[in-house]
Amino acid sequence: MKSQWSLIIFTLLVQLAVGSTLVLSFINSQFFSKIADSLTHEITVRSLIIIVTSLFVAVISSFFHLGSPLNAHFSLNNLSSSWLSREILLIILFSTSILTYFLFEIMFPSNQHVRLTIAIISSILGIALLFSMSKLYMIETVPAWNTFLTPAKIILTTIILGTTSLLLILITGDYSNTNIVGDNLLFKSILHIVLIILFAELILFIVEIWTLKSGVLAELGSFKLITEDNSFTCYLHLFLFASSILLILYNLLIPGNKYSAPALLIISILVVLLQITQRYLFYASYNRIGI
């Protein structure tokens, strides 16, 4: 399969948007009564700007994948059997929900319950979108994609990108005088979540390689595509795993660490690059049964 950068950008940005929405819902549900509403509002608005921008760029990028985008209005014709049709519908619904959330947040910031309700609806639509994205790639004739690893990787990428997005918002905002980051507990918690997900992704990668190597024709073809035809990206992927895990462990294990912004920024960049190489290798592993 030729390089699919438009799809890599699309899927990662959609996962970022859904992940950030899930994180936002969590923050709004857990913290709106505990921290100043103005602070929740500020974090929410900044997150929503990232989400809306991500969705906009994702949709534009998806059009670059199409040969005849002017026929795109036919894309909802096969909701009865095509997961791609369903994914397109859910993107539309999710984007509409997010835009509603954004407008409501700006125009009626004091209404916490409505804000939370829209956040939950957006989260549900986002999860449905991830489900359809997983099913889209679980094509029966592509053994490397038609496993539990596909939805597992999508879910983990979604959570890690959403968490990293929150981390970047906290790094770039001045919240040092608030009780969000007063004792660095929030940064520590975020790094723990990211670390657990990274270990999970590493385990899934090893399981994937081992499963493909043990398979028959099409699976072995995928194994060779990842480890031989794309060996550089494969080694880069492992390097990014090692460096991000080690950097996180270093920050967590130093006694009294203040979690400096540059260190957290480097961790965030490494995590994002790791998700990019993971998705690149996913598309590179495409090998269908038959001819």
């Binding site: 399969m1 005849s68 026929n71 894309s75 909802l76 096969n78 791609l84 269908r288 038959g290 001819i291």
Partner: protein, 205 residues
């Protein structure tokens, strides 16, 4: 659906001349790089020498393959615009006025039937020479074959005449999409999961 049209292919007598491939390309005026019918040269085994005597365990044959107009077409199931549909004659066709060129059908089809036309930016595929069939003619590949290894007709008639053979390396198991095709294998064929067999003319296709 009234009918299910189907191809028959006799691998035991195919010489690999590729006349069928050329006839299809000529009739449909296909661009370079697009082959609605493809001829694969399949081989397994080697020559071994011992005490000055050479022997071999080679199995080799040709596979001429177009679209199999599957009874359970995965391309039509996955197509988001319903550009890819199975008509009343069982022929799977693509409507270029609806196709968005996402190539999802190309990802899914295990026979490589849907092919992307870069110039037209849409998917294209074998349509069983529908226009010929409407005028009671045979598809161009069938008529062109000098070895007479290709045939065409209603699937039931083809099965009554030639049997129910469908499995042939390198094609996938027929249970995947239930292709509307009947194949006669050589007496000695290659198992569909054989790791030591190969397609010799991959770059040509």
């Amino acid at each position: 659906m009234n009918k299910q049209y189907a191809f028959y292919f006799d691998s035991s007598r195919c010489s690999g001349c590729k006349t069928c491939q050329i006839a299809c390309k000529d009739k449909n005026n296909l661009e370079i790089g697009i082959l609605w019918r493809r001829v694969y040269e399949v081989s397994k085994g080697e020559w071994k020498g011992k005490d000055g005597v050479w022997s071999h365990n080679i199995i080799t044959y040709n596979v001429s393959l177009a679209c199999n107009h599957c009874e359970d077409p995965i391309c039509a199931d996955t197509c988001p615009t319903k550009a890819m549909i199975k008509n009343e004659n069982g022929i799977v066709t693509v409507d270029k006025n609806k196709c968005i060129g996402c190539r999802y059908c190309e990802w899914a089809c295990p026979y490589g039937a849907p092919q992307y036309d870069i110039a037209k930016a849409v998917m294209t595929k074998c349509n069983l020479c529908e226009d010929y069939i409407e005028n009671n003619k045979y598809p161009s590949c069938v008529d062109a074959c000098p070895m007479r290894v290709l045939d065409f007709g209603d699937l039931q008639d083809i099965q009554n005449k030639y049997g129910h053979g469908k499995e042939l390396y390198p094609l996938p198991k027929s249970s995947a999409t239930r292709p509307a095709i009947v194949i006669t294998n050589k007496e000695i064929s290659i198992d569909i999961n054989d790791l030591n067999a190969e397609i010799l003319n991959g770059e040509e296709i």
